[in-house]
C-alpha cells in the first residue's frame, strides 16, 4: 500500500518537473513597452557588435519607435551555422539572419527564407534600383529574391607595384589578356637567392569556388545551365578555362603549388612579397591595413579568349519564413542594407556597401588605404557574375573536392572536369538528401 502511495506521489511530482524541463522555450514577441521584438542573428566580432550597439540599433529604434532589436551573435563565424540550426530546431528561430555567398546556398535550397518580392511591391519607399542588380543576383534563387545584400566586393587583380618596377614589367591594364598576364607572371617568378628554390611567384591560384569560376567564364565556359539541370564543366571551353588556371602552378610554375606556399595564405604571401599578384576582393583591405611595406594597386582581371569575367563576395541579410512579424523585420532589413547600414559598413571598412549611392561616393573610394585605382572594384561589377549552385548543394560541394587532384598536379584537369560534371549531373537528376 505504502509502496503504491510512494509511486503515485513520485509520478505526481515527476510529471510537472519533466514537462517543465521539456517545455519549449518561447521567445517573447513584445517587450515591456509593447514594442515588437525583432531578433537579428549575425556573426559580428566584438568590434562590430560595438558598432551595432552604439550606432546602428539606437538610430533604428529612434526612427522606428514600435520596434525593438535584439542582437544574437555567434561572435565570429565558427559555429555560426550550427548555432542557427540549433535555434531553429529548438523552435526559437531569429527573425533575421546574416548570410554570405558561402552559406546562403545552403539556406536558400532549404526553402526557409522569405521571398521579398511581395514586400518590395507593396513598399513605395523602397527602390530596388538603389542596389546593384548583379549583386542582388546572388540572393535570387528560382525567381525569388531571398534577401538584401549589405556589403559586397568583386574580385580584382591586386599587385605589388614595387615588384613590377624592379623587374621592368609594365603594370596590368585594360589591354591585358591571358598571354600578357602569363608573360608578366613568368617575369615576376624568381629564385631570388639562387638556391634552386623559387622564392617569389607571379600569382597565386587558390582552389576556391569564388575564384576559379571566373577563369571558366573567361574561356567562354560555364558551370551549370541556367535551369541548374545540367553541369557544363565537361564542355571544352570550361575545361580550357580550368586548365589555364590550374596550369599556372602545375605547368607554368608561376604560382605556388600547395607545398610551395609554405603554409602561408595567398594574402599572407602577397603581404610578405612572395607573390607579385593575387586575385582578391576589397574585403582584404582590412588585412592589408595591418601593414604593407610596398606600393600596391588594383587592376582589372585579364581578358580571356571569350570575355573578361570575375566573381563576387558579399554579405547580406534574410528574413526567415517563420517570423511572426515580417513587416517589422522588413523595416530593419531595409535599414541594414540602406543608407544607415551602408555608412556603418564604410565605418567598419567592410568592402563596398550594397547601397549604390554610398558605394559610389567619395567616402568609400577616398578612404585612407585606397590605392589609386580603387574604383576598378566598382567597374568590375559590369562583368562580374555570381557562381551558381543547384538545389543538391551538398552533393555539389562534395563533388568540388575532386578538383584537389588537379591542383595537386596528380590528375589531368580534363579528366577531373569530366568526372566532376558526371557526378554533378547524377546529383542534380536525383533527390535532395
Amino acid at each position: 500500500m505504502k509502496r503504491v502511495l510512494t509511486l503515485v506521489i513520485s509520478v505526481i511530482v515527476a510529471v510537472p518537473v519533466v514537462s517543465w524541463v521539456m517545455k519549449p522555450k518561447v521567445r517573447p514577441e513584445y517587450d515591456e513597452h509593447g514594442r515588437v521584438i525583432i531578433e537579428w542573428y549575425n556573426y559580428a566580432t566584438p568590434e562590430f557588435l560595438d558598432l551595432y550597439q552604439k550606432y546602428l540599433i539606437p538610430e533604428f529604434e529612434r526612427t522606428h519607435p514600435h520596434i525593438k532589436i535584439r542582437l544574437n551573435s555567434s561572435l565570429g563565424d565558427t559555429g555560426y551555422d550550427a548555432k542557427l540550426l540549433t535555434l531553429i530546431a529548438g523552435k526559437i528561430p531569429p527573425d533575421l539572419v546574416h548570410v554570405t555567398q558561402q552559406n546562403f546556398p545552403f539556406y536558400a535550397v532549404k526553402d526557409i527564407l522569405l521571398d521579398l518580392t511581395p514586400l518590395i511591391k507593396s513598399d513605395r519607399e523602397f527602390h530596388i534600383n538603389d542596389y546593384f542588380e548583379r549583386v542582388l543576383e546572388g540572393m535570387r534563387y528560382q525567381g525569388k529574391l531571398l534577401g538584401l545584400p549589405s556589403d559586397f566586393s568583386t574580385i580584382a587583380l591586386v599587385y605589388n607595384k614595387d615588384m613590377f618596377d624592379k623587374y621592368g614589367v609594365p603594370y596590368p591594364d585594360e589591354t591585358w589578356d591571358w598571354n600578357k598576364f602569363l608573360w608578366a607572371a613568368k617575369k615576376l617568378t624568381r629564385d631570388t637567392d639562387g638556391d634552386g628554390v623559387i622564392d617569389q611567384f607571379g600569382f597565386v591560384n587558390i582552389n576556391s569556388y569564388n575564384r576559379w569560376p571566373a577563369w571558366v567564364w573567361m574561356a567562354g565556359g560555364d558551370i551549370l545551365t541556367a535551369d541548374m539541370k545540367k553541369c557544363l564543366m565537361d564542355d571544352p571551353r570550361s575545361i580550357r578555362g580550368m586548365k589555364f588556371y590550374v596550369n599556372l602552378s602545375i605547368k607554368e610554375h608561376v604560382a605556388p603549388t600547395a607545398t610551395q606556399t609554405l603554409g602561408q595564405s595567398f594574402e599572407e604571401m602577397f603581404m610578405a612579397e612572395r607573390a607579385a599578384m593575387i586575385a582578391d576582393s576589397r574585403y582584404a583591405y582590412k588585412v592589408f591595413s595591418k601593414g604593407m611595406n610596398f606600393r600596391w594597386d588594383v587592376a582589372h582581371m585579364p581578358k580571356g579568349p571569350a570575355c573578361r569575367a570575375t566573381t563576387f563576395i558579399w554579405g547580406g541579410n534574410c528574413i526567415l519564413k517563420s517570423t511572426k512579424h515580417p513587416k517589422e523585420a522588413w523595416e530593419f532589413l531595409k535599414f541594414l542594407s540602406g543608407y544607415e547600414g551602408a555608412i556603418l559598413n564604410v565605418k567598419a571598412g567592410n568592402a563596398f556597401p550594397a547601397y549604390k549611392k554610398v558605394a559610389m561616393s567619395d567616402i568609400v573610394l577616398k578612404s585612407s588605404i585606397s590605392p589609386p585605382n580603387d574604383k576598378v572594384f566598382l567597374e568590375a561589377i559590369s562583368y562580374g557574375r555570381q557562381a551558381p549552385f543547384p538545389p543538391q548543394y551538398t552533393e555539389f560541394s562534395q563533388a568540388m573536392t575532386k578538383f584537389e587532384g588537379a591542383f595537386l598536379g596528380l590528375e589531368p584537369v580534363d579528366v577531373v572536369c569530366r568526372r566532376f560534371a558526371q557526378e554533378v549531373n547524377a546529383a542534380v537528376s536525383g533527390e535532395v538528401w
Partner: protein, 341 residues
Amino acid sequence: MLLLVVKYGEARRLREHIGIAWRRFEVQRMRQRMSRRQRAEAFSGFLFILPWVIGFLVFTAGPVIASLTLSFCKWDILTPVKFVGFGNYAKMAQDPLVRKSLLNTLYYAAFAIPLGMCGALGTALLLNQKLSGMRLFRTLFYVPSVTSGVATYLLWSWIFNPELGLLNRALRHQVWWLDFSKGIHWKIVPLVANPPKWLADPNWAMPALIIMSLWGVGGGMLIYLAGLQGIPEELYEAAILDGANNVQKFRYVTIPMLSPTIFFNLIMSIIGAFQVFGAAFIMTGGGPMNATLFYVLYLFQNAFMYFRMGYASAMAWVLFIIILTLTLIQFRLSRKWVHYQ
C-alpha cells in the same frame, strides 16, 4: 551513438552500482522483514545513484535511442523529420566516400594499432628498469598524452611541413656518404634528396598520421607499467633458477602475466583507431584527395557540415556494429591467449 561506446566503461559502472543496490534489496526481501533502518538504507542507496542514472538516461541513453530512430529518417534540422526506412543505409552502400573512409580507417588501424601497442609496451619495459631518475622519464613520456590535442596537432602539422618542417629539414641534412660510382671515395649528399611531402601528398598523408599516433603511446604505456609492476618477483626468480635467459623470461613470464593488460590495451586501441578523428579534422580536413578522410570524420562532416543528421546517425550505428563485432571477436579469441591469475 559513439557516446555509447565511449561510455562503455561508465555503463559497466552503472550496472555495478545498480547491482549492488539491487542485491541488497533482494537479500532483504528474502529475509522477508526489512527493518525500518534497512529500508531507509536501501532507499538512500538508490537516491545516491539517482543523479548518475538521470544523467545517463538524459545524456546517453536518450541520444542513443534518438540516433537509432533518426537513422531511419531524413532530417536536416530545418525541415521536418521524414521517415525513409532503410534509405540511409541503402545510400551508404552506394556512397563511394563511405567505402573510401572505411578503407582509410582500416589502413590506419592496421598500422597504428600494432605500432602503438609495441611502442607502448617497449617504452613501458624500458621505464620499468630500476634506475635513478626513472620517475622523470616516466613523466616525460606521459606528458604528450595529457597535452591538448589541438595544440599537438598544430605542432605536428608544422613538423610535417614539406619545405620548412623539422622532419624534412632533418631528412635533407647533409651527410658524408661512401660513393662507389667512380672508385671509392666520400662525398657530401643530403640524407634524402626528395623527402616526402607528408600531409600535402595523398600517398604520404596517412603514414604521417600513423607516425604521429606514436606521440600518444604514453597512455598505453602507463597501463603496461602498472601491469608490469604487478608481476610477482618470485616468478622471475623461479625462472632464473630453471635456467631461463632474458628472452625466455619475457616470453614465458612477462607476456602471459601481462596478457590481461595487453588484451585491455588491444580492445581500447581498436576502439580508438576506429574513432580516430581529431588529427585529420585539424591537420588535413580529410584531404588531400580524401586520403585521410576517416570514417568518423566523414560522419562528422555529414552531421555538422552537410546537416544530414539521419545519414550521420546511420553511419554511427554501422560503426557501432563494426566495433561491437570486433570486440566480441577479441573476447572470443582472448580465451586462447589471455591468462587471468
